[in-house]
């Protein structure tokens, strides 16, 4: 197991370099950073533009891309002080990114815990007696909820609870002009965004868990377990649930992308200053110094969670051979 993990971790390094290089090329070609810089700073002098090119390593040609990528990467790994500054007002990128990152993690963590927990619970409730009344209600509800795009549920919740009823705040982390830390206000602002992402997650996991339980429920080893004379609860805990969780664990790790995706949408609708708002702003501005760190963080997380999915699978299912 340890050797397997080490080998996979070593493989991660070239993969990250390769994928981030592709991302780098995509950003260079897709946004044309120099043109974006000129759009943001129309009166910039030639010397300023030249300086922007130098600092960010925006050289032309394939060789230039490779050189520029490694220069950028070197600056990136040296730490935030070496990161190029944003094209908008030359602000430092790191503080905003950090602030957005933690805002998002708070949202994502809460939504993931609620979503996965409640989803698995409903999945078990439905999957325990497939075809029953409870199963029908839970499964159909999950089906309908899962069909609603997250931005639609976000907008409708905003319209109903924030605008019409005024129960929760429609936007931000704190009301405008608020200073300092206030968990109660913060929680109040998180309710709607968390809810939007959580219901999407709940719907997904209800269906995964139910399907997985149904898959397991016809297995012969359950009959063996019952023939042992152990209680139905023990059968559920030691066999049905244990085996049904194997595919779920993998889904949890892979689904992190979907979770972040849902957050980006939700954050933008609720003006919640997280990674999603950060990204959409940077994308609209074509702000190369802000886009790159964001995309690299996303890429690395995706790759790490992919690895975690593989590892959890290998760990939970002894039939998977580790090589």
């Amino acid at each position: 197991m340890a050797r397997f993990i080490i080998r996979r971790l070593l493989w991660l390094i070239p993969t990250v370099i390769f994928v981030t290089f592709i991302v780098y090329c995509a950003v260079r070609i897709g946004w044309d950073p120099v043109a974006s810089y000129l759009r943001a700073n129309p009166r910039a002098s030639d010397a300023k533009v030249q300086q922007y090119i130098e600092v960010n390593g925006l050289y032309e040609g394939f060789g230039g891309y490779v050189r520029g990528y490694f220069e950028w990467l070197w600056a990136f790994v040296q730490g935030p002080d070496h990161w190029p500054r944003s094209i908008k007002g030359s602000g430092e990128v790191y503080p905003t990114l950090r602030y957005s990152f933690f805002n998002t993690m708070r949202l994502a963590g809460t939504a993931a815990i609620i979503g996965i927990g409640v989803g698995l619970f409903f999945g078990v409730v439905a999957g325990k007696r497939p075809g029953g009344a409870v199963d029908g209600i839970v499964n159909t509800t999950a089906f309908f909820v899962g069909s609603v795009p997250p931005f639609v549920s976000a907008i409708i919740l905003q319209l109903v609870f924030a605008v019409q009823l005024g129960w929760f705040s429609a936007s931000g982390v704190y009301p405008a002009g608020h200073q300092g830390f206030d968990p109660w206000l913060m929680a109040k602002h998180m309710v709607l965004p968390v809810f939007v992402v959580a219901i999407q997650t709940i719907a997904g996991y209800t269906r995964y868990m139910r399907a997985s339980l149904l898959d397991v429920s016809s297995a012969d080893y359950l009959r063996t377990a019952r023939a042992k004379g152990i209680s139905e609860r023990q059968v559920m805990r030691g066999h049905t649930f244990r085996n049904a969780l194997i595919p779920i664990a993998t889904v949890v790790a892979i689904d992190i992308g979907a979770l972040i995706g849902g957050l980006i949408i939700t954050e933008n609708i609720f003006n919640y200053p997280g990674m999603g708002v950060f990204f959409i702003d940077a994308a609209n501005d074509g702000d190369f110094p802000r886009l790159m760190p964001f995309l690299v963080i996303i890429t690395v997380s995706v790759l790490i969670f992919n690895l975690l999915a593989d590892l959890s699978y290998a760990y939970l299912d002894p039939r998977i051979r580790l090589d």
């Binding site: 070609i29 897709g30 946004w31 159909t140 089906f143 069909s147 795009p149 409708i156 949408i265 992919n306």
Partner: protein, 333 residues
């Protein structure tokens, strides 16, 4: 004790035939339905799928003949601004679903918008399913390096947050000027169709590959191989017909992804500009953002409702297809 001699070999055949007939009369269920007929029957027994199919076909007729069913033109105001303020009117007899920021009828625009969105969804879905089926079956059949690379690449692609990936890819492809003759302008309908096809084929390829892997080991494929059938022949005459269920399900999922994706992109300002004589669901949904904060509920309810209705209908149709072609995967509805 009379002894009845057991049947002798010479006479056994006729006796056997008679016996089969008798046993059939004696309550053996003799199924004469073909698999496709059975699938058809199972499909219509799925209530959600049946209702959704009817709604979807009705909607399809309405939007195909949009000029007949619409009450106003795409860009026509319900009445000229000179006769009074026509913007943000709540639902009333002259505008069933209310009017937008420049006084146009939401109901009529919805018909045209759904038309564009279904067109985008179905076109992107068909392209994606075609590419995905071909790549998936080749990868599944050949295996080896090609298969490894395909799975690795699609793994990573599908794990990325959809919105981030699609915005990056959109800008990237839009930046490749040599592709413009094929893809069209970044904000054209053609571009958006290709964009979603590029995303959709991967999920389809994975699905078809899985199906091919499980079919590959079955006897009839081995038999085809044994008589010297080529790979392409095996794919065309054995693998694809037997994968029709999963492929149709994948098609329904790709169509939803494209329709919802178009709206989502438009919502964030990265959507297509359908030109002066048309609109898309995305363009209409875009209005719901300001609609929500300003309390103009009809700008939220009708466009979003239409989108959700479409998504649910196609989802149900896909679900029905899944049940129809694979009765084991009981969905419990």
């Amino acid at each position: 004790m009379t002894s009845l001699q057991p049947v002798h070999e010479s006479s056994s055949f006729e006796t056997f035939d008679e016996l089969y007939e008798i046993s059939e009369q004696e309550g053996l269920d003799v199924k004469t339905l073909t698999p496709s007929k059975l699938a058809w029957r199972r499909y219509w027994r799925h209530k959600g799928a049946a209702i959704s199919t009817v709604i979807f076909i009705a909607l399809l007729i309405m939007v195909i003949f949009a000029p007949v069913f619409a009450r106003y033109g795409v860009n026509e105001a319900v009445f000229p601004i000179s006769e009074g303020p026509n913007q943000f009117l709540s639902p009333r007899s002259i505008a069933w679903f209310g009017t937008d920021d420049i006084g146009r009828d939401i109901y009529s625009r919805l018909l045209y918008g759904i038309r564009t969105s279904i067109f985008i969804g179905v076109s992107a879905g068909l392209i994606a399913v075609t590419i995905g089926s071909i790549v998936g079956s080749i990868a599944g059949l050949r295996g080896g390096k090609l298969d490894d690379i395909l799975m690795r690449v699609t793994d990573i692609f599908l794990a990325f947050p959809f919105l981030v990936l699609i915005i990056v890819v959109r800008e990237f492809i839009g930046g490749l000027t040599f592709l413009e003759p094929v893809m069209g302008d970044k904000s054209s309908i053609r571009f958006i169709i290709f964009l979603f096809a590029i995303f959709g084929w991967m999920a389809v390829a994975r699905l078809v590959r899985g199906q091919v892997l499980s079919l590959k080991e079955r006897e009839f494929i081995e038999a085809a191989r044994a008589v010297g059938a080529s790979n392409s022949r095996i794919i065309a005459s054995h693998l694809l017909p037997n994968s029709i269920g999963p492929i149709l399900v994948a098609l329904s999922l790709t169509i939803i992804a494209a329709i919802v994706g178009e709206s989502t992109l438009a919502f964030f300002g990265f959507g297509p500009q359908p030109g002066t004589n048309s609109t898309s669901l995305g363009n209409l949904v875009l209005l719901s953002r300001s609609g929500a904060t300003q309390g103009n509920w009809w700008l939220v309810v009708f466009p979003c409702g239409a989108l959700v209705l479409l998504a649910i209908c196609i989802n149900f149709i896909g679900d029905g297809l899944r049940d129809a072609f694979d009765p084991k995967m009981d969905s419990g509805r």
